[in-house]
Symmetry: C2
Subunit: 521 residues, 2 copies
């Protein structure tokens, strides 16, 4: 595919109105061809108007039509997966084989959401029939379905440049909900974004849908993002990235005359607790597994375990030694962007300035943007006294917190802000302590994992990729998994309707054969 | 029951720390005994700390225990219903018989939520079993339940002083979710609030629950409300009232270091569209029914139909005449508070200053706070040009919009901001126009009603009492009905858990026998 670098607004190729940019290859720190267009407020307005115009049609597509569209996107992504992985590797420094896996995952997500759409459970159809003889007054017929909230703006992630970017889970779940979508492409991978966008836009055309169903914009600085969040026709926003970036968008959207829902997935240190019997039995193995996991994606992962808490006792030294060995052996690898690389270095410095002691560092950086892995250590008392030690450093670093006893382990658990996940390593004989930790962790995390390191992000029905602030801006939703569609749905009740005027899904004879609750059952 | 006027913070009777107030009888414009305590930031902090302390225990109560508690509240409310209705009538000027109905409805809501809790569907249990043989890598076991978000602050309504106040739907749904609750009592009905609060607090004691499950505060000005919204231990807020009040709380909560969900139910003019064949066939009957409905509760109802749109043609004059007659005959009745009465008068003036013409007014006011009913009229062109004509005037007034044709009716429909409800009056032969209006209304309302006036608020599974801004601050939720519980729930995923460590509801053998989805089915 020849990359044009244009903005892709519905069916229009829109050239630069605010300058151009090139992608950076973080492995070489060199710019890559071609030029990519940057747009401004006019392009946001054009995309938003198209998205709004297309909304009535697209949000009323039949479930069959909508799921066929999602499957077509998946097929189109599969058709370009090698090209996509190759270009994305150039722009991110991530291994091409891993990115091929990501492309496959992105396609799978669209197929999974096609299944969700076809089954129709997400409509949450509810029928409370009329009770004409009820005393003291009759009850009218009530029927409820969920409908899409309106056009959605998606701010994709940089660290999973396919499966959580233009063709990622946010786009898939919003389109599945019946929302039209405008993606603000991440400037760290513009070529990858164009390839993904064209796969989706081709599907819009293949399926004969209105062009405004999907657009991709790109801009310099914050201009385009702010204009998207401000635009009166945009009705919801999703974002994956830093706490600072996410909260700027969140707060801006809440200052609109009409605030809109903004789901941001931001920051998490994913604390890992090694319970005493597990530590004694498998200290070295746990240390090794933890360190391997923390280095995945050069530590640039929302689920990277960044803090490990263990009681200083039997098994502690083998744990520490195993972690140190693997970290020391880890080769430095290119990080995604100069900004991330710089933040990583200053984050490490900051941790050390407030009491974290270096235990091991990986091999020295060769490239300008290489991130060198690091293991730091602190005792429980210092950790509890210095809340900034619990802040995320995005990259291949972790902090080992040596606590003096179980009480202090629980105190450390209580000290955490909201998290995407927490992990417990435990033996049968650790169960009592685990039961005391559990309610503490439930209040602070969206997911609790037992005895695992490599828990890839499963996109299933029981997935929660969310959690209390600052892990996300709204703990009631997940950004990954089949229920992430709920971020973009709102209920509408049809009361006393003649059957012929009801949406098909709610008609008396249930012509679509969809699951519906009747009086709540 | 002797009213002490104290703040009721858990099991403590807390006297005034910031002065006292008395209730006003709006029928006589005279103050009523006794004094009621006003509190400040210290009392908010005390209540929030108790609510947080009680949270772990209360949110982990068994479904049986929690539903028994809700039923006990219902019984306790029933036991004081006559006393409650009598005191509430004194404080609101509303008829005692109506308030007896409201007390019964409040008790019923607690019983309905007890049923929701017992059935356990609200937990949205989902199991995605391990797939140890999956390629290329095994899938871990994932199990999801919903848990309560944390302590909730409830700001009750003034206009339904029982069923949407201290013992109203917000409190019932939050307690059902497993959240602890702090109510900021409305200063318009402090005695009623105390009677309701004692019924709930007695149930807390009867059921042996920790005292912090429930508290009621009262304060002067905005101090207590702001302190509640700011308090770091409060994790969600609900509010029913004006757009100005709701948005002040909403925006304040979004400026917290950790923003929290605030569900506000604020303003709606509930537009009613009379389609041409219905108008021709039943103009007079529709006008009469509309006017009757708009006068319910002295027009102080969130579902009051405030704007009626009809095409100037066959049936229009009979419609207008019937409305005018009933409005002219309506006796002026006391409004809830001096503030509401004053806002009603200035709202009517404002409408007339921007082009609404008076058609009829009700009988003259006798009491100082009596609201005199009013019917105003405007043509479609003027209505479209003056967006302020679509703003709510809280009280017994309505605006008849005379449109010139179907096109203009649709244009008027498009001009509305978000609404709680819209109504269509139609005949079989109006179906084509109804189909054109429907998508316009779906995007702007949470509920669409056909051929009805008196649609009391049904508290069912298919109820939506919500809608796009400014009807509410988040169109994805409802504040009334069984799914209103979702405002206070968040998902937690348990991954790779040994069976003995799982919450009982998620254990392999499903010992509680609750409904669970498995792989989404």
């Amino acid at each position: 595919m020849k990359l044009t670098g244009n903005l892709l607004i519905g069916a229009s190729e829109v050239p630069a109105s605010a300058g151009t940019m090139k992608a950076l290859n973080p492995a070489t720190n060199q710019l890559i061809e071609p030029d990519f267009a940057l747009g401004g407020i006019a392009e946001v307005d054009m995309a938003a108007n198209l998205a709004d115009l297309a909304f009535d049609h697209y949000s009323h597509t039949s479930l069959a039509e909508r799921s066929a569209f999602l499957e077509r996107i998946a097929d189109n992504l599969d058709a370009v997966s090698r090209e996509l992985a190759a270009r994305t590797a150039l722009e991110t420094g991530l291994p091409e084989a891993q990115l091929l896996g990501e492309a496959a995952k992105a396609a799978t997500q669209f197929r999974q959401f096609a299944g969700v759409v076809r089954k129709g459970r997400f409509l949450q159809l509810a029928v409370d029939p009329a009770q004409p003889d009820r005393q003291p007054r009759p009850r009218m017929d009530h029927r409820l379905q969920k409908i899409a909230i309106g056009p959605v703006a998606v701010f994709g992630a940089s660290n999973f440049p396919i499966s959580y970017s233009v063709a990622g889970g946010d786009t898939a779940s919003a389109l599945a909900a019946g929302a039209t979508v405008i993606v603000k492409a991440h400037n760290a991978h513009p070529g990858s974004s164009e390839i993904q966008a064209r796969a989706i836009l081709q599907a819009v055309q293949d399926c004969g849908l209105p062009q405004g169903v999907f657009s991709v914009l790109r801009g310099g600085g914050n201009l385009i993002g702010e204009a998207l969040v401000d635009h009166p026709l945009i009705k919801a926003v999703t974002f994956t990235g830093s706490e600072q970036g996410g909260m700027a968008l969140y707060r801006r959207a809440q200052l609109r005359p009409d605030p809109i829902p903004v789901f941001t997935e931001m920051t998490s240190v994913n604390p890992t607790f090694i319970l005493p019997h597990a530590l004694a039995a498998h200290g070295a193995q746990i240390g090794d597994g933890f360190a391997e996991r923390m280095l995945v994606n050069v530590g640039q992962a929302c689920l990277k375990p960044a803090i490990l808490i263990a009681v200083d006792g039997n098994g502690f030294d083998p744990l520490r030694t195993a972690m140190a060995r693997r970290v020391a052996e880890a080769p430095a690898r290119p990080m995604l962007t100069p900004g991330i690389h710089e933040a990583y270095l200053s984050g490490l410095e900051q941790l050390q300035s407030i009491g974290a002691k270096p235990v091991a560092t990986g091999t020295a950086a060769l490239g300008d943007l290489d991130g060198r892995s690091a293991l730091l250590e602190v005792d429980g008392q210092r950790f509890l006294a210095q809340t900034a030690l619990a802040h995320e450093v995005f990259g291949p670093a972790a902090l080992l917190v040596r606590v003096k006893d179980e009480m202090q382990m629980i105190a450390v658990a209580r000290s955490f802000r909201g998290q995407l996940s927490a992990t417990l390593h435990l033996e049968e004989t650790d169960m009592e302590l685990a039961r005391r930790l559990l309610p503490v962790l439930e209040r602070r995390t969206g997911r609790i994992v037992v005895n695992a390191f490599a828990h890839p992000q499963e996109v299933t029905f029981a997935t929660t990729h969310g959690g209390p602030f600052p892990a996300t801006s709204d703990s009631r939703f997940t950004s990954v998994g089949m229920t992430s569609i709920e971020r973009f749905l709102r209920p509408v009740t049809y009361q006393g309707f003649p059957d012929a005027l009801l949406p098909e899904a709610l008609r008396e004879l249930n012509p679509l054969g969809l699951p519906r609750s009747v009086n709540g059952d």
